[in-house]
Structure formats: C-alpha cells, structure tokens
C-alpha cells in the first residue's frame, strides 16, 4: 500500500490524520514540523506528503519548496492542509510546488477521497 508522510505540529490533528489514513490501509509516518519532515522524507521516499501550513521551525510551504528541489520528490504529490480559504496561501503553495490542498476543517472521508484521487 502507498506510503504517506503526515506533517502537523498539532498532535491531535496529526493523530487524527494518521489514524484515518492507517485505517484505510496506508503506510503512514508522522512528522511534527517542517524540519522533522524534511529529515524523514530523505530517510525514505514517500508516495505522498500531507502537510499543515502553519508550523514552527519550518512551515509547510517552505517544506514543499525544499522537497521539490530533491530529485526523488519532483513528481510526488504534495498536499497542503490549510485553514485559510484565501487565494494567496493557495497560490503561494502552488508556486512552491504543491500539488493541491485540502481545506480545514475536513472530515476523514474527504481526506481519504482526496488521497485516493492522488494515489491510485
């Protein structure tokens, strides 16, 4: 099954996302911020990255930008979890290389549907 790296500094969100994805059979690893994620993403190549945007130490958009620069992650789908419905964040994300976004709050089914879209 596909592997996903779930990145969020909020433990409750992270746990929820991980639980949801694992229940659907995905292989999920967690990271607590951009720095942690960047390190983990280089220890193994994930099939997909799902990341929160607002995080300390390194935010989600910077993370995506830096991952895109790595040869293994050129085409890997990367999704932002963003609460901001404003267009600027999304555009900023796209410019950094994000594949797409999921707007918070989302329910587990939405998350799974989106991932299914991106991973099959």
């Amino acid at each position: 099954m596909a592997s996903i790296l779930a990145v969020d500094d909020s433990a409750s969100m992270r746990k929820m996302v991980t639980f949801t994805l694992k229940s659907a059979g995905y292989d999920v690893e967690e990271a607590v911020d951009g720095v942690d994620a960047l390190m983990k993403a280089q220890l193994r190549v994930f099939d997909c990255i799902v990341t929160d945007v607002n995080m300390p130490n390194k935010d989600g958009i910077t993370l995506i930008r830096e991952l895109r620069a790595l040869p293994n992650y050129k085409y890997i789908p990367m999704l932002m979890l963003t609460t901001e419905s404003g267009i600027e964040k999304k555009q900023e994300g796209k410019a950094a290389g994000a594949t797409g976004w999921i707007v918070k709050p989302f329910d587990p089914d939405q998350l799974l549907k989106t991932l299914k879209k991106v991973l099959d």
């Binding site: 639980f19 229940s23 796209k94």
Partner: protein, 710 residues
C-alpha cells in the same frame, strides 16, 4: 467509513490549554510596550491552531470565536493594526473566555453563552468598530446545548435537456507535471461525473531531440456527457488553475440556475438585543468562571487537624519527555542483562564464583538506584507549571489595587514532583496575594519612602540538598514586629509579658486566628489563614519560614522534599525498634552522656546545646519501647530537630545511618498514629515508622501534663 473522532478530543483539549497559556504569556509580554512581531506571531499561531483543530473536531462555537481573535491578531502581525492596550485587554479576556468554553466542553457542561456573546461582541467592536450580525452557529449554541454543524445547502435548478454536457479544452502549461499533478488523474475524476471522450492534440510536441520528459506538451479536447454543473468541473481542475488553459463550454446552451449556498439559521438570534447595545468597555465586569484546576484541597476535620490524602490529586495523567522514557528503557535493559548474569551464576553455584556474584549484586544495586532516579525523574515537572499563572494574577490584581508591581520569575525550569506541583499551588496563590495586598505599598507611599515606584515580587525556585526551595521575595513594607506582638496579645494568643525575638514574632503569623489586616480584603482574606498554609506545606513534608525587615521587604521561604513518595531520612534505633526521622527536620545529632541532661521540675528534661537549652523527648517513653540497655539509660544520641522555629531533641539509642525511603501510607489500611507520618519497608522486608516531629512534640507535652497533674 466512520471514524470516532472523540478519541482525539483529549489530546486536542490539552493542546488548546497549552496554546492558551502560550497566548496569554505572549499577550502579557506585549503589554510592556515594545511590539515584537515574533511574539505576535506566536500568539497568532496559537489562535490559528485552536481554530483549525476545533473546526476539524466539530466544535464550531470555539472555531467561530477563535476566528475573530485570529483575524485581529493577523492584522496586528501584518502591521495593519496597532497593538493597543484595550485590544490586548480584550484579547486577554477572550483567552479566559475560550479557556472556560473549552473546559465546559471537555467536562460536558453547558457553555456560559452570555460571556461568549459579550466577548465576541467586544472582539468585533475592536475589529470593526461595530458589531456584525452574529454568525448562525453561535446562535445555535445559545438556543441549544448540542452543537450542530452549519448546514450548507445548494439548490440546483436542473432543466431537462437532450444531450447535456460540456466541451472542455484543456491545455496544461509545461510545468504542470512539476507540482505532482497528472492529467490522467484529472480525467479519471471527470469520468466520475459522466462519460467522456477525449481527443489529444500533439501539435505542440517538440522534436524528439528536444523533448523534455518533465514537460507536458500535450493538450486535449474533451466531451463530457454529464448533468453536472460547471462548478463541479472547475472543482476538479481547481488544483491546476493557473498551470493550464481551461475552457469549458456547455454542449447545449441553457440556463443552469444554481442558487448560492444558503446558511440555515436555526433560530432568530435571541442575542440581537444584547448585541445591538454597545458592549461594556470595562470587560472586567463580566464574571467568567475561571476553571479551577482540579487541585487536591486538603480537608480539615472538626478538630482542625489536617487530613491529607497522600495519593496525588488533580489529573491522573502526565506528559513526559520521551528522552526520560528512553533513559528508563536503557536502564531496564541493563537490569535484564545483570539479572540473567546472576541467574547463570546461581544455577550451579560454587564458592569460587563468589566474586562474580558480588559483582553482579553490586551492579544490580547501581541499576536499581539509577532506575529509582529515572522513575522519579519522570514524575518531575518544571515548577513553571505552577509559576506560569502568576504573571497574569499579579497583572490583574495589581491593576485592581492601583499598584505598580513587577513579577520576576527565577528558576521556573526547576523540576519538582508532580504531586508537589499540584499541592503547592494554593498555598503559593495565598502567599502571593498577601504580598500584593499587604506587602507592596501604594506607588505614592513607595516614592515617599525613597523606593522605586514599581514594586518587585520575586518568585524563585531552586534545588538545595535534596529539597526544593521556593521563595517569595518582595521589596514592600516588611513586617512590623511590634504590631504583630500587640495583635497577638490582643487576640489572646500570647501572654502580654512575652518577650519574642524577630523570628518568634514572625512565627505568630502562623498561629490560627491571626490576621494583621484591618479588614479582611477580598483579595487575600478568604478565611484561609497562614496556619492552614503552613499545615498544607508541613503535610507535604516541608517547612515554611518568614524573614522580614521593616521598610525593606519580606522573604517567605518554603522548603519541600523533591518528591512526596520518597524522602531522605535518618534511621535511628530505639530499643529493638527502628524509626526514620525525616532529614528535612534534622539540624544536627549529638552523642550524649548522663551529665549533659538536666531535669527541670514540671517541664521535663532539657539539654544544653551551645547557648540554648532545648527540651528532650525520650522516644522510649512516648512510644513505650523498652530501652536496650537499662543501666545506661542516659546514654545515647540526641537528634536535634526543628519544628516551626523551635528546637527540640529526640533521645534515641543510636543512629543507624541515612536512608532514602519510600513513603507508604499507614492510614490506607490502618489508622493515623500521633507522632507517625507514614511507614516504609526496609531492606529486610520489615516495616519502619517515619516520625512526625510536630506529633512527637504533642505527645510529649501531653505526657508531661498528665505526669505533672498526678
């Protein structure tokens, strides 16, 4: 699939409370005038996180409330809005309100909706200068306790048509693939909407030599037969908007009416009337139920004796640094190794393996000590858990009193057992309130006395010799020894001819029924006197002392054992029995002979220690133990202990050495015994009693009075 979200709620609530604390201390820092964008950013992130989480977990009232805070803070961090005192005050109040909301939700209690509306309006006024119509979800909250999601209905008006569908011209730009997007995926999604046929345009593919596989040179024209709306198609292409050219035309021109989503308003906002009137600018009028931490308030029985439940009160969970757990796991690993080594030695033991056995046992002893240390460490929390609420407390109360007071925290990372953290909170609050109310003078008085206008209270914590010391140091008016004495005489607590030194005079404060305040103010005089504070602290195995200089200030010093479960003790022999004297009470020990003791008629025995005569308590007598050596009954050891500023000597047979002992409750299965604070299990499996010095003194006094009355 339905996933039970409630399993994440607890973590979410904990995160929120932590976030609120961070926001609060950030806001208090903002107060001091300098605008630090990093601080504002932290506060903003706090609100943002809570908003996001609460939305995800379905707490829409919280999400909506926090959203306004977030908007305000966002403007502040961008520089679009100045940081003003009123704005900070509103935000501080909103933090309280949020805290109360979350506490209520967490314990399944109704939310104080009036407070929510007031603060929400205050935030909106701050934001817009006026109050908007309340959002529907808040009105739902108020009319019903059950939280419901917003209902988002889209009503489509579908007309009949023959061939309904769309023609989609899709030309991705070269870089579309570089965001991980894939046209094939998009087409798959379109397939879910209906049937499509696609024709691909290859005109733009460069020559073979020039092809870059990372670029997308294809474009397509698709015909989608579907009753879907244009919005649904746009939705599918939403991620690649800007990375492509997209042209969608209806196959057959018709009017596709779509009514924009309406939000169901379940009830007429009852709060309109409240909201339309200008919100009170003095937010402090609103009484928000501050959630009190579930502290273990010590019970006092009819006789005024303190009943303390040694089992730690408060929450029964703890967050631990994983490093501490890893350290413990390592040690346990070592124990396993040592244990199997000893097992091997024991299997076919012969005396020539004695050295190995000894080595193994001493290793095991080391590991056990390390494990004990490690486990105790896990229960340790930085005292900041207690200290962190004081900046806010001092800020609020000093404002109320119109005094200028600066609170300094020193050593807030000092670690202390979780049980201590929970039980020290109330006494500290009481003491700091005293300092605020009676200690620090009004600004005018300070200036007149040649002191800086702003008073300072220093809240300090540090480790010293196996104990934690917490000090409250203020530069206020100090204690007036004479005033204390006359007050005590007035209350009949002491004889009018009593002569007391400074230290003894300060001790008067701890007598039950004593209060120097002319009137019991609402701040500090809640009927809980210093005697109860002292009892609390002693029940924890600690001590409290006061030092003061008139006109200069007062220092209150609290000594506590690092952990309640384990204490340092001195093992002593009394006859055949072994008792443990808590090290925290011991001043020194002296070997004595017959001639060093003096009998004083009606007052028992005393012992001369340098320039003082201290009373003796014969442990054999008060505990009814046969002395080992009847002939030399006056030879032994005096253990000099201190109790509330007064010294006395425990007469025992010999010292058996210092011991770290695990405290076990005697009361759990048995009864409270005067002079005994608990029990411990010694290495040989037998039980040794841990002595309670104040209790011993009481026993001794009682015996003396029965003896003299005979």
């Amino acid at each position: 699939m339905s996933i039970d979200m409630s399993q994440f709620h607890q973590v979410f609530f904990e995160e929120c409370f932590e976030g609120l604390e961070a926001m609060e201390s950030g806001l208090l820092d903002l107060n001091t005038g300098d605008i630090d964008s990093e601080v504002i950013n932290t506060i903003f992130r706090g609100a943002h996180s809570i908003k996001g989480g609460s939305g995800t977990f379905g707490f829409s009232a919280v999400a909506d409330f926090t959203h306004i805070m977030e908007t305000l803070l966002d403007q502040m961090r961008d520089g679009r809005r100045p940081v003003t005192q009123p704005a900070v005050d509103v935000l501080l109040g909103s933090v309280d309100c949020l805290r109360a909301m979350l506490t209520a939700i967490q314990s399944d209690d109704p939310i104080d909706s009036v407070a929510v509306v007031v603060y929400q309006s205050a935030l909106e006024i701050e934001l817009n200068g006026s109050v908007k119509e309340s959002s529907p979800s808040i009105s739902q909250e108020i009319t019903g306790a059950v939280e419901e999601e917003e209902v988002n209905e889209e009503i489509y008006n579908e007309d009949e048509a023959a061939e309904q569908g769309w023609r989609i011209a899709f030309s991705p730009y070269l870089d579309l693939l570089k965001t991980g997007n894939d046209p094939v995926r998009l087409f798959r999604e379109l397939a879910e909407l209906g049937e499509y046929t696609a024709s691909v345009n290859t005109r733009d593919i460069p020559d073979f030599d020039d092809i870059d596989p990372e670029e997308c040179n294809l474009s397509w024209t698709l015909k989608l037969l579907s009753q879907c709306t244009i919005e649904e198609i746009n939705e599918i292409f939403s991620w690649v908007e800007g990375d492509c050219e997209l042209d969608i035309q209806a196959l057959i021109k018709k009017e596709a009416k779509s009514i924009p989503p309406s939000k169901q308003i379940k009830s007429e906002p009852v709060i309109e009337s409240l909201v339309s009137s200008p919100a009170p600018t003095d937010i402090s009028l609103v009484n928000i139920q501050q959630p009190t931490n579930a502290t273990n308030t010590p019970r006092v029985d009819a006789g005024g004796e303190l009943l303390i439940d040694r089992r730690s009160g408060g929450s029964s969970s703890i967050r631990v640094d994983t490093a501490k757990i890893d350290a413990l796991i390592n040690i346990v690993g070592e124990v396993v190794i040592t244990q199997s080594m000893l097992g091997l030695v024991g299997e076919n033991f012969s005396m020539d393996q004695l050295a190995q056995l000894k080595r193994g046992l001493s290793q095991l002893e080391r590991h056990t000590r390390d494990m004990q240390q490690s486990v105790m460490n896990i229960r340790m929390l930085p005292i900041n858990f207690v200290f962190s609420r004081f900046p806010r407390l001092v800020h609020d109360i000093s404002a109320k009193l119109n005094k200028k007071i600066d609170l300094k925290l020193v050593g807030e990372s000092t670690e202390v057992d979780k049980a201590v953290v929970e039980l020290i909170n109330d006494p500290l609050v009481h003491l700091i309130r005293n300092s605020l109310d009676h200690g620090i003078e009004m600004p005018e008085d300070r200036i007149a006395a040649g002191k800086p206008e702003i008073g300072t209270i220093e809240l300090k914590a540090y480790h010293r010799g196996g104990h934690i010391v917490i000090e409250i140091i203020d530069d206020g008016r100090g204690l007036d020894k004479n005033k204390l004495i006359s007050k005590a005489i007035e209350k009949g607590l002491i004889n009018e001819n009593s002569i007391l030194n400074d230290k003894q005079a300060f001790e008067l404060i701890f007598m039950p029924g004593f209060s120097t305040a002319e009137s019991v103010t609402d701040i500090s005089g809640r009927g809980v006197g210093m005697d109860v504070v002292r009892k609390n602290i002693q029940a924890l195995g600690g001590n409290i002392e006061i030092l003061s200089e008139l006109g200069q200030g007062t220092t209150i010093s609290i000594h506590l054992p690092l952990t309640l479960a384990i204490i340092d003790g001195q093992s002593v022999a009394v006859g055949e029995e072994t008792y443990i004297v808590p090290l925290v009470s011991i001043i020194e020990s002296v070997n004595i002979t017959e001639d060093m003791l003096n009998k004083v008629a009606g007052k028992g025995e005393t012992f001369r220690l340098r320039n003082q005569y201290i009373p003796i308590i014969r442990m054999h007598e008060i505990f009814n133990v046969q002395p080992k050596n009847k002939i030399r009954a006056n030879e032994g050891v005096i253990v000099v202990v201190e109790r509330q500023g007064v010294l006395c000597g425990l007469f025992v047979d010999e010292l058996l050495g210092p011991h770290q002992v695990v405290v076990k409750s005697l009361e759990a299965n048995y009864r409270r015994v005067e002079g005994v604070s608990g029990a411990t299990i010694l290495g040989d499996g037998s039980v040794a009693l841990i002595l309670d010095v104040p209790g011993l003194v009481r026993l001794s006094n009682r015996q003396l009075s029965t003896n003299t009355s005979l």
